[in-house]
């Protein structure tokens, strides 16, 4: 029986170790999610993976022990033992297969998955921990059963002692000792002590409260929400700048060119259907009484060159109701949509909105394009569409 006690102690220590290992991890999980910056920190992943493997090994060991004990015929006949053995076998199988899978897993890919991979790892660890707890408790029960003396009494174990210390409860059999002498409509009360784990938990929460307030309001350590926001934005700007630096051509209104590739136009069409169609119609021709103007005719309110359209989409024309899209669409997407819109010219969809564009003098000061002021000028006739590229240059020069 002595040897069982030693195994039990070892398992207890493992349990505590696993708990301690889990704590900082969950704290980091919170940070990662909130910062939204994604944790691609390899060391963190490494730690998580090591913990997972560590837990797997622990489970493996316990499952093995349970299996070997339960295989002992005598114990096997204990009815609950079968269940535990079954579970142990399952875990052995599961562990073996996941250990195999872990070898094959592309660690880098997981790291690059950012939050998703992170959450997956944390979840895995959590499940493993629960499995570990379950098996450990089963093993404990098994030990207890093995250690029963002839009268069926179990010697108090270490965990029993810890349990008694934490709850400080008078056992049910002895509760008459603490029964108070009053009753209300037949309801009696016991005079049990406050459960120590509860009481110390309460004290701890009060200490937490004090430390929290000091941390955020009396030291420079804790960042209040606006400061936190500034830091978040700076980090995001830096990350964005770093990313943009890796891209070769960034499109903006100074260099945007008309795209003619079918794939670009298809992508632009897709974006158009998703974001533009509600106001400008599925066909781009809007509709009578529609919110946005017809984009398929030759009349333009804010200029019809690809540069103009790019700018209109990017910055919007708030006073006319055109929303700025630069926070929602990236420059390439805007370029694709602009090109797609150019490709709609002359499609003459049914039930389109009447031409608009005579409002030029109210709006545009920067670029008095010919199209808007004088809808009937040559440039606007479909026959002249081939001149688009030239127009574009003209407009750019005017700017």
């Amino acid at each position: 029986m002595k040897s069982f006690n030693n195994i039990r102690k070892a398992i207890g220590a493992t349990l505590v170790g696993a708990l301690i290992a889990l704590l900082p991890k969950s704290a980091m999980a919170g940070n990662a999610l909130v910062n939204g910056t994604g944790v691609s920190d390899e060391t963190l992943f490494l730690i998580l993976a090591v913990i997972a493997i560590f837990q797997l090994v622990a489970i493996l060991v316990i499952a093995g022990v349970i299996k070997s004990i339960v295989q002992n015929k005598e114990v096997w006949q204990m009815r609950w033992g079968k269940g535990a053995a079954g579970v142990a076998t399952l875990f052995l199988l599961f562990t073996a297969s996941s250990a195999h899978a872990a070898e094959d897993a592309d660690f880098d890919a997981l790291v690059n998955m950012g939050d998703t991979g992170f959450i997956a790892l944390v979840t895995l660890n959590l499940f493993l921990f629960l499995a570990f707890l379950y098996l450990a408790s089963k093993l404990n029960g098994l030990f207890k059963m093995l250690m029963q003396d002839e009268e069926g009494k179990v010697p108090a174990t270490f965990m029993d002692k810890v349990n008694a210390m934490l709850t400080d409860a008078v056992p049910v059999e002895k509760e008459d000792d603490v029964l108070m002498d009053h009753e209300y409509d037949g309801i009696h009360e016991l005079d049990n002590n406050l459960p120590p784990w509860w009481l110390y938990g309460f004290y701890f929460s009060i200490v937490f409260g004090v430390v929290y307030v000091i941390n955020y309001h009396f030291t420079d350590n804790g960042k209040l929400q606006i400061e936190e926001y500034v830091v978040e934005m700076e980090a995001a700007e830096a990350a964005k700048a770093a990313f943009v630096a890796t891209q070769k051509n960034t499109v903006d209104e100074s260099n945007v060119e008309l795209l003619t590739d079918a794939s670009d136009l298809a992508a632009g069409g897709k974006t158009f259907k998703l974001y533009c169609a509600p106001c400008h119609g599925e066909s781009g021709g809007s509709m009578p009484g529609g919110v946005g103007p017809n984009l398929t005719d030759d009349y333009w309110i804010h200029g019809g060159s690809v540069t103009d359209i790019f700018k209109t989409i990017k910055y919007g024309v708030p006073e006319k109701g055109m929303v700025s899209w630069q926070a929602q669409l990236n420059p390439t997407q805007i370029q694709q949509v602009s090109s797609y819109i150019k490709s709609l010219k002359g499609t003459n969809p049914e039930n389109a909105k009447e031409p608009q564009g005579e409002l030029l003098e109210e709006t545009a000061t920067a670029e008095p394009t010919e199209e808007a002021t004088e809808p009937t000028t040559d440039e606007e006739t479909p026959a002249e569409e081939a001149n688009d590229a030239e127009q574009q240059e003209e407009v750019t020069m005017v700017e």
Partner: protein
């Protein structure tokens, strides 16, 4: 010692039980309808009275004040008479309490669908009903305190402490949160504005949970669990410590509903730390409930009553742990405004309040009708389908909340929102909404089974209207036991205990609310923020009438994911003229704080089409159409009175402006109508849609004008 004979009044308990069951079913049916509307928006059948925005408050009010409220009264009237060994002090007051409460519920059921609402959550009822609530509540309290005074039991039991705390605190909360200036019989404006209104509202809202859904039910737990299990309460000392700690700490926690808002940081931090400190006091109640069942777990297997109570107490423990966790800033940043909160409150509502009520009813009806429960099998069926219902309700919503929040926050590598279109994050979780409705249906089926079971039980027995009892009268002199606990003295002096409870619950509220109202630096003003025009003010009242704030927040939190999506984060100074505040607590639709600002501004015609049918402008939207905005004329008969009321509340409309208000309103309406006409939309300028468009286009524009620095004005 001479025994006195008297009767317990069971009739009043019977009445409250019937009301509990009836309104439980009504409230849950309304909730199910609202849940289904999120999956099938057409379900309001084009009727304005049953749109989501109007029936969501009906659901919350019905289940909180009608179902749980009547449940409280039923349990309190039953247990208090027996714990104090006396009949209620006045049958008349008991009946006024009953009929008055039902009338209040009836008036809520009429006014809320009509759009008569203050918009403040769980306090939506308008001022005349508020006054009625206060009066009836005092009737209840008076009857209770007088019953306590003429008791035959020297000491008052822990259940009664909780009832007393409930009475005094709900009275304080209700009265102070309902400070409002009447404009007409059915319209008022909150006394407080913006940040202060938000703080008072969530001081109230959080403690409505604490002192309407928690403390009275803890009292019921302390009576019905030991009675049903026939076991002594685990620890008298624990009940003392957790009672006082609970009522003292709970009051402080309100600001955790306002983390990352424009509420001053210090108030937010108080909300967080007191929420954490609340775990142990809450769990004290759970421990005392569960540990009372020590040595009786074999009974739990056989008794449906105890099963319901065990799950109820477990759900209480879970939600009182989850709540404080959600009060931590980093978790709140994810959970707030999502369905996570809805899942959380339903663990408490369906589990704790619902199941404890059911357990109590299964216990009471056989007792009061002198018979046995008609069918244990059906009660067990109710238990299992109810539990399954809770699981099916909560898990999809946790999933939905978490998913949507991550989608809101996700950025692409080149710094763009991964889901810039809010709607994408909604359509993603609609299947979860469907699952949730299924969970609710299961739960409701269980309730119907219970009703049948209880009615069959009552039929098989005979109701004891007046239950005979006897007890010795209290001796005029009492000599305390040597060496008794100091708290025993307090239990002999219920009025002292009542006063101490008032002191305990007042401190937190005073420390948080008074400085926010008085210290100028808490609300820096912004000179470019101006009062609403009369048309915008009327539009804002339409927004309140339709309950838009039930789905749309007006509070942009200082996160990159929100400022990228909606624009600059919200500042305290932007809300100084908002009586009431409209920050909302849930984003089923996008935030509207800057709907008129340059980042989000849409043409008037977009809004017009969107109100006609949201899905033309936002394909897949689950917002219902609002065609009545276009059919109904704007009521301007109270515009002048509204301007006057606002001026009384401190909004700087010049003297005499009320005479000019309607003319200004018409002029602005004509402009919008003309703009719509230009886009080919013909609509009369006096229609409601013009006002609501004017209001939406105003939102978030002030801060883009000159003078946007936040200034701490000198007192």
């Amino acid at each position: 010692m001479e025994m006195e004979k008297f009767n317990y009044d069971n009739e009043i308990v019977r009445k409250f039980i019937i009301a509990t069951v009836v309104f439980g079913i009504v409230g849950m049916l309304v909730g199910l309808t609202a849940a289904l509307q999120l999956v099938i928006p057409e379900l309001n059948a084009g009727l304005q009275w049953i749109t989501f925005g109007r029936i969501r408050p009906l659901h919350t009010n019905a289940v909180i004040f009608a179902f749980v409220g009547n449940g409280i009264f039923a349990g309190v009237y039953y247990s208090m008479q027996r714990l104090l060994k006396t009949r209620m002090w006045s049958d008349l007051l008991s009946n006024i309490n009953f009929w008055g409460w039902q009338l209040i519920i009836l008036s809520a059921a009429i006014t809320l669908p009509l759009g008569i609402t203050t918009s403040k959550e769980y306090a939506e009822l308008e001022w005349p009903i508020d006054i009625a609530i206060a009066l009836i509540w005092v009737v209840f309290g008076l009857n209770m305190l007088m019953t306590i005074i003429k008791r035959r039991e020297r000491h008052i039991y822990v259940a009664i402490w909780f009832y007393i705390a409930t009475f005094v605190t709900v009275a304080i909360l209700h009265i102070f949160n309902s400070f409002e200036l009447p404009v007409t019989m059915l319209k008022s404006y909150s006394w407080y504005a913006g940040v202060q209104d938000a703080l008072v509202q969530w001081w109230y809202g959080h403690n409505a949970v604490a002192f309407f859904l928690t403390t009275p039910y803890l009292g019921l737990m302390y009576y019905f669990v030991p009675k049903a299990a026939n076991r002594p309460v685990y620890s008298y000392r624990l009940s003392i410590v957790h009672f006082w700690a609970l009522i003292f700490i709970y009051i402080w926690a309100g600001p955790h509903h306002l983390l990352y808002t424009s509420l001053p940081d210090w108030a937010q931090s108080l909300g967080t730390v007191f929420s954490i400190m609340l775990i142990a006091p809450s769990w004290g109640g759970m421990l005392n409930g569960l540990l009372t069942l020590r040595g009786a777990w074999d009974k739990v297997r056989d008794s449906a009553v105890l099963k319901f109570m065990v799950v109820a107490i477990t759900c209480y423990g879970m939600s009182t742990f989850e709540g404080p966790m959600l009060s931590l800033k980093n978790l709140n940043a994810i959970s707030h405004f999502t369905d996570w909160t809805i899942a959380h409150v339903h663990i408490g509502g369906l589990g704790w309040n619902g199941f404890l009520t059911f357990g109590m009813l299964y216990f009471l009806i056989p007792k009061m009708w002198g018979t046995k429960l008609h069918s244990q099998r059906l009660a067990n069926f109710h238990f299992w389908i109810g539990t399954l219902g809770i699981v099916f309700y909560a898990i999809p919503l946790y999933w939905a909340g978490f998913t949507q929040s991550l989608m809101w926050k996700e950025f692409t590598a080149d710094g763009f929102l991964a889901y810039p279109n809010f709607l994408e994050t909604v359509t993603q979780i609609i299947p979860m909404y469907a699952m949730r409705a299924l969970g609710g249906t299961l739960y409701l089926i269980g309730v119907f089974v219970m009703v049948y079971n209880l009615m069959a039980t009552a039929k098989s027995g005979s109701f004891m209207k007046n239950e005979e009892a006897e007890a010795p009268a209290l001796a005029p002199k009492y000599k305390p036991h040597a060496g008794e606990y100091w708290h025993r003295a307090l239990e002999r002096k219920p009025m002292v205990l009542t006063i101490l409870a008032v002191v305990a619950v007042s401190i937190g509220g005073l420390v948080e609310i008074v400085p926010t109202a008085l210290v100028k630096s808490n609300i820096p003003t912004i000179s470019s923020v101006k009062p609403y025009t009369p048309l915008e003010l009327e539009g804002r009242d339409l927004y309140i009438r339709e309950g838009c704030n039930n789905c749309h927040s007006q509070m942009i939190r200082p996160f990159r994911s929100e400022t990228e999506r909606y624009g600059e984060y919200s500042k305290a100074g932007e809300f100084v003229y908002d009586h009431p505040f409209l920050w909302g607590s849930k984003r089923t639709g996008p935030d509207l704080a800057r709907e008129g600002g340059s980042k989000l501004r849409k043409p008037n015609s977009w809004h017009y089409n969107h109100f006609m049918d949201p899905r033309t402008m936002s394909p897949g939207s689950i917002m219902p159409p609002y065609p009545w905005f276009i059919e109904q004329d704007l009521d301007v008969s109270n515009t002048a009175a509204k301007i006057n009321a606002m001026r009384t509340l401190g909004v700087p409309y010049p003297e005499g402006y009320e005479d000019q208000a309607v003319a200004d309103l018409n002029a602005q309406a004509e402009e919008i109508a003309a703009d719509l006409a230009q886009g080919g939309i013909e609509v009369a300028a006096n229609r409601e849609v013009i006002a609501i468009i004017a209001y939406l286009q105003r939102l978030g524009t002030d801060i883009e004008n000159e003078g946007t620095e936040e200034v701490v004005s000198n007192p």
